[in-house]
Symmetry: C2
Subunit: 264 residues, 2 copies
C-alpha cells in the first residue's frame, strides 16, 4: 500500500465531507434523541458516515470502516486496513453552536495507527499525521511538545468529573483542578485532543470515550510526543470504549500517579 | 450626543485594535505575572488599552475610561460618558492558544448602558448592541432568545465551582450540572457571554467578575432578552467586582432559586 496516496485520498475525502456538512446548514436539522438526551444524532451525521463508507469502498473494497453511527459492517478485529471514524464529534456543539465540531478519522493497518486526522469543519482547519513522518496543522509542521510544570498546565476536564461519581475519586481530580493553572471544556473530545497536540491545552481526560472519538487523535499524538493511555496507564484499545487521557509527556505520569484513582 | 456616530467610531476603533493585536503576534510576547499566576498580562494588553485611551480622548476629551489595566484615570462614578473596556479578555487563551480572546467594550451614559461590544479578535467576529435599537452578530440581527427547559440547557461553568469553595454551595451547583444537558468552559467571560446572547450557551455564571469583563455583554444581553444579575438576583454594579450570571430568561430564575446558594 502507498501510504502517501492513501493520505491524499483521505484528506480530499475529509475536506469534501466537511463541505457537505457546511452546505447542509441551509436545511433544517432533523434531530433525534438516541439512548439519552446527551446523545443527539442528526440526519447529517448519518449521511456523512454513509458518504465516507461509499467513497472508501469505491477506493478499495477491502478497507473496513468502524464508525460511530454503526452503518458500516461490524468490525471485531483490526486485521488489514480499518478506518475508525466519527463523522461529527461534538454533536451538541453542531446542533446548538454551529461550530466546535470535528470529523475524526484514524486509519490503522493490522492494528497499527498509520494516518490520523482531526478536521474542524467550520474553520476548515486540518490537524493530521503520517506515522513516522510527522504531524501538521494545515501546512505547518507541528513541533514536539515542550515540557512544563503541572502548575502551569491548562487541562481539558469536564465539571462532572470533579463531582462525586462512580468512576474516579473526585477528590483527587479536584486536587488536580486546584493545582493546574486553568481548566477548559469544549464538548468535543477530538477538539480537545487537537488542542493538546498543538500545545493549546496540556492534557485532556475523559471517563468514557469510544474508539472513533480518539483514533485520529492518538495517531497524531504519537508524532508530537503527546502520551495517550487509559487512566490506569494501559494502552488504548481501538475496539472498545474506555477511559482516556492525552497529555504533554512532562505531566502525563504525575497526573496518573498523584491525581487519578480509578474506582471501577 | 449622536449615538449612531459614537457607534461608528467605537466599531472602527475596536476593529483597528483587533488588527493591531493580530499584527503583534509576529513579535514575542513579554509575559509578566500579576498578582497570581492565573492573571497573566502582556505588553500587548497594556499597549492596546493605551491605544483605546488615546483615540477616545482625541474623539472626545470628556469621555472617561475604566479599563482592566487601569491606565486611564480613576473612575469612581458613572456620570457622563464612561467607556468600560477590557482590551484582551481571556489572557491565558491569548498567550497559550492564540484564539478565544475578546475585546470587550461597554459605553454608558450617566450610568445607563448605551452601546455594547464583544469582538472575537482572531475570528474578526463582532457581537454588538445599540440600546433600544437591537443587537447584531456582524451583519445579522440577533433574535430574542427562545424558551427552553433547564434539562435541555448547556451552561458555561468552571469546574472550580462544583468543588468545595467559600463562595457558593458546591453541592447545589453539582445538582445543576447533573440536571442540564451539558457544560462548557472557555476561559473568557466575554466569549461565554457572547455565546449566551446568540443561544450557543443558555447560561454562564462566575463567582467573581470585574466591570470590564461584563459591561459590553450586559448591554448586548438587554437587547436579546437575556437576563443578567448577581447570583442573589441583584442588579449589576459597573463600579465593582461581583459574582455574575447571564441566562436565557426561561431558566434564570430557576437557576437562582434551586441551584445557587451564596455563602459569603
Amino acid at each position: 500500500m502507498d501510504i502517501n496516496e492513501l493520505n491524499q485520498f483521505a484528506q480530499q475525502l475529509i475536506r469534501e465531507a466537511g463541505q457537505r456538512i457546511r452546505d447542509a446548514f441551509s436545511y433544517d436539522l432533523e434531530i433525534e434523541t438516541k439512548s439519552n438526551p446527551n446523545d443527539l444524532v442528526t440526519n447529517i451525521d448519518r449521511e456523512t458516515e454513509l458518504f465516507f463508507i461509499e467513497r472508501i469502498q469505491a477506493f478499495n473494497a477491502e478497507h473496513r470502516i468502524l464508525g460511530e453511527e454503526g452503518m458500516g459492517e461490524t468490525v471485531t478485529d483490526l486485521n488489514g486496513v480499518v478506518w475508525i471514524l466519527d463523522p461529527i464529534d461534538g454533536t451538541m456543539n453542531f446542533v446548538k453552536q454551529h461550530r466546535h465540531f470535528m470529523i475524526s478519522v484514524g486509519i490503522l493497518v493490522d492494528g497499527v495507527g498509520k494516518l490520523g486526522y482531526i478536521f474542524d469543519v467550520m474553520r476548515e482547519d486540518l490537524f493530521y499525521a503520517i506515522a513516522g513522518q510527522g504531524a501538521w496543522y494545515n501546512d505547518s509542521p507541528l513541533r514536539q511538545l515542550q515540557s512544563l510544570p503541572i502548575e502551569e498546565a491548562v487541562i481539558g476536564v469536564n465539571a462532572r468529573w470533579v463531582m462525586q461519581n462512580e468512576q474516579v475519586n473526585h477528590e483527587k481530580i479536584s486536587d488536580l483542578v486546584r493545582t493546574v493553572r486553568g481548566t477548559r471544556s469544549y464538548g468535543s473530545a477530538a477538539m480537545e485532543i487537537a488542542f493538546v497536540v498543538t500545545g493549546k491545552l496540556d492534557a485532556y481526560m475523559s471517563m468514557r470515550l469510544a474508539p472513533w472519538d480518539i483514533a485520529g487523535g492518538v495517531i497524531i499524538a504519537n508524532e508530537v510526543g503527546a502520551v495517550t493511555s487509559t487512566l490506569t496507564g494501559g494502552p488504548i484499545d481501538f475496539l472498545s470504549s474506555n477511559h482516556f487521557i492525552i497529555a504533554n509527556p512532562s505531566i502525563h505520569d504525575v497526573i496518573l500517579r498523584d491525581y487519578i484513582e480509578v474506582l471501577c
